[in-house]
């Protein structure tokens, strides 16, 4: 057995580790704090030559300027529309497809499943040239549809759905079939309600992924009024001149929706992210 003194020593070590963890966590989040706090200072305070942890004169004027003097409002609309469209289309099509693969017999079912698993390995970045060519041919450059279409491939959503549908006990299906329920009814009355949890989790992370997407929206749009907010805030900094605080207020506005979504749905987000990674191995 452990002696009292070693136990005490171990507890001391434990306490040090705990305090260290908290300290590192605070330092880790400090750049975020610093970005937010700088955006709330008047420009002359922002460039003071010493560290000022709290603004002397707190101001929201940069937010007002960013909202009224840039196209940030339109970028918000573009981001919301495209991210919602990507989320609805991806989750919807994946739910139906995942259900069919999991529960129904049809020709080439295994082939389709293997194709989906294989596409999981393909980095979408390598397709930018051909996506651009395709969207240009459809005349979709600088349109919402052009931003949305190439972002609709998330094989992981289907893979997660198939797993969840596989795990629904067969009894439910057989009982419903006895009652002569149609396939559509079985899907919408049994399988979908039983998996609302995973659906909301997948929808939240798909929304966050789409909101945060940079490379494709950056390529698909050349007009400032069609940019998503993620791209927009990096493209027009010259319009701000050297107004650091205003630039940072735009960054805060761009990050706010996903940060808030995460803080509200913390558990769902972590669940969906662990799920999507569990398959990646």
């Amino acid at each position: 057995m452990m002696t009292a003194t070693t136990a005490k020593r171990l507890n001391l070590v434990g306490l040090v580790i705990t305090l260290l963890t908290i300290l590192v966590a605070i330092l880790w989040a400090f750049p975020l704090y610093w970005g937010v706090i700088s955006s709330l200072k008047p420009e002359d305070e922002v460039v003071r030559r010493y560290i000022e942890l709290w603004p002397e004169n707190l101001t929201f004027s940069h937010y007002y300027a960013a909202l009224t003097q840039t196209q940030i409002g339109i970028w918000y609309v573009n981001s919301i529309v495209t991210a919602v469209a990507i989320t609805v289309l991806t989750v919807g099509s994946s739910l139906f497809c995942g259900y069919a693969i999991s529960q129904l017999e049809f020709p080439f079912r295994r082939v389709l499943w293997w194709l989906i698993l294989a596409s999981f390995m393909v980095p979408m970045q390598v397709l930018i040239v051909n996506h651009f060519e395709l969207m240009a041919r459809f005349g979709l450059i600088n349109t919402w549809a052009g931003i949305v279409l190439p972002q609709l491939i998330h094989p992981v959503v289907i893979i997660v759905y198939k797993q969840f549908f596989d795990n629904v006990p067969k009894d439910f299906r057989e009982a419903a079939a006895m009652d002569n329920a149609s396939e559509w009814r079985i899907l919408t009355r049994i399988y979908m309600p039983m998996n609302w949890g995973v659906t909301t989790a997948l929808a939240i992370v798909t929304f966050i992924w789409s909101w945060n997407a940079f490379l494709w929206p950056f390529l698909a749009v050349t007009k400032t009024e069609m940019m998503t907010i993620t791209v927009g805030i990096t493209q027009v900094n010259d319009a701000f001149g050297v107004y650091y605080a205003r630039e940072l207020s735009a960054a805060v506005l761009a990050g706010l929706p996903v940060a808030v979504a995460y803080l509200i749905f913390q558990r769902k987000v972590t669940e969906a992210i662990t799920l999507s990674a569990g398959i990646k191995g």
Binding site: T18, T21, A29, W184, T230, Y262
Partner: protein, 293 residues
């Protein structure tokens, strides 16, 4: 009960139709086009003549491709394993905490991961600003000379690497925490009964039991960092992009700045094959190690 096979197949086809249509248009077709384009002297839009392996052979003579290739390798080297170690250490610390405190501390580590890359870019561009960045005040206090981090070839990749670790560690921490939680408490109680020291317990229990999760984190990070572009592009604006090229950046530059779709496609195919090889190797390795266990 007899199931109506034909009916079932029709329902199934209707259900898979939306996905299959998207998949064919946005994935299968562009992938086939990618390989065809890589053998043509095509511009960004429209096709060109077949030139055999010309685009590929030109890659090897291209100094910029060389830079892109080695920078990507360098970036992978400084982010994948160091990032996993940092995340593992943090996860060990966080796993000791309880309840609300744990949720709060985890949120602090995880928050950067949830933010768009452009927000990460603006925040760090400000933090490391040569004139007014808070990091430079710290440099001054330590008596270190200020560095224009993103304008210096030496400092660029390490700085972007550290920022990337900061940005993505939350994801790895989450996986490590899930792994740590799945280790049964009884094992540790048994170790405590044997009077095993903290270090021995860690070396002989935690570390080997965490190996599968570690392998998973390393693979995901490796594939992710091979595809790096966003941060490198953003931090290069106004700096020295041609010294900071990575593979996806090279593809972007060839296609969208030089209008050379064919040469861009050839570079993209190289990256494509690289990622597939890594994925398949990893798959085989995990299967092998599972077979032995």
């Amino acid at each position: 009960m007899l199931r109506n096979k034909r009916n079932e197949a029709i329902v199934a086809l209707l259900l898979i139709a939306p996905f299959v249509a998207i998949y064919g248009l946005i994935f299968v077709y562009p992938t086939i086009r990618l390989f065809i384009t890589s053998f043509q002297n095509a511009p960004l839009i429209g096709s060109g003549e077949f030139v055999g392996f010309d685009n590929y052979t030109r890659l090897w003579g291209d100094r910029r491709f060389n830079t892109a290739f080695w920078n990507t390798a360098y970036f992978v080297a400084i982010t994948v394993i160091p990032g996993a170690l940092v995340a593992f250490a943090i996860a060990l610390g966080v796993s000791r905490l309880k309840g609300r405190l744990q949720a709060l501390v985890l949120a602090l580590f995880f928050l950067p991961y949830i933010l768009p890359v452009s927000v990460v870019y603006l925040i760090w561009d400000w933090t490391l600003n040569f004139q007014f960045g808070i990091a430079m005040y710290v440099f001054d206090m330590l008596g270190v000379d200020r560095v224009p981090v993103f304008k210096s070839t030496v400092w660029f990749m390490p700085a972007v690497g550290v920022i990337t670790i900061w940005w993505t560690a939350g994801f790895s921490i989450l996986l490590f925490l899930a792994g740590l939680r799945s280790i049964p408490v009884e094992i540790y109680e048994a170790a405590a009964l044997d009077n095993a020291s903290r270090l021995t317990t860690f070396r002989q229990l935690t570390w080997p039991l965490m190996w599968p999760v570690t392998a998973l984190v390393l693979t995901i990070q490796l594939i992710l960092q091979l595809k790096i572009f966003d941060q490198v592009y953003l931090f290069s604006v106004g700096g020295r992009p041609n010294d900071n090229l990575v593979l996806v950046y090279y593809v972007f530059q060839r296609a969208f700045q030089y209008d050379q779709g064919g040469r861009a496609a050839a570079a993209a195919v190289v990256l494509f094959i690289l990622v597939i090889v890594v994925s398949v190797l990893n798959f085989q390795l995990t299967r092998l190690s599972k077979g032995r266990a």
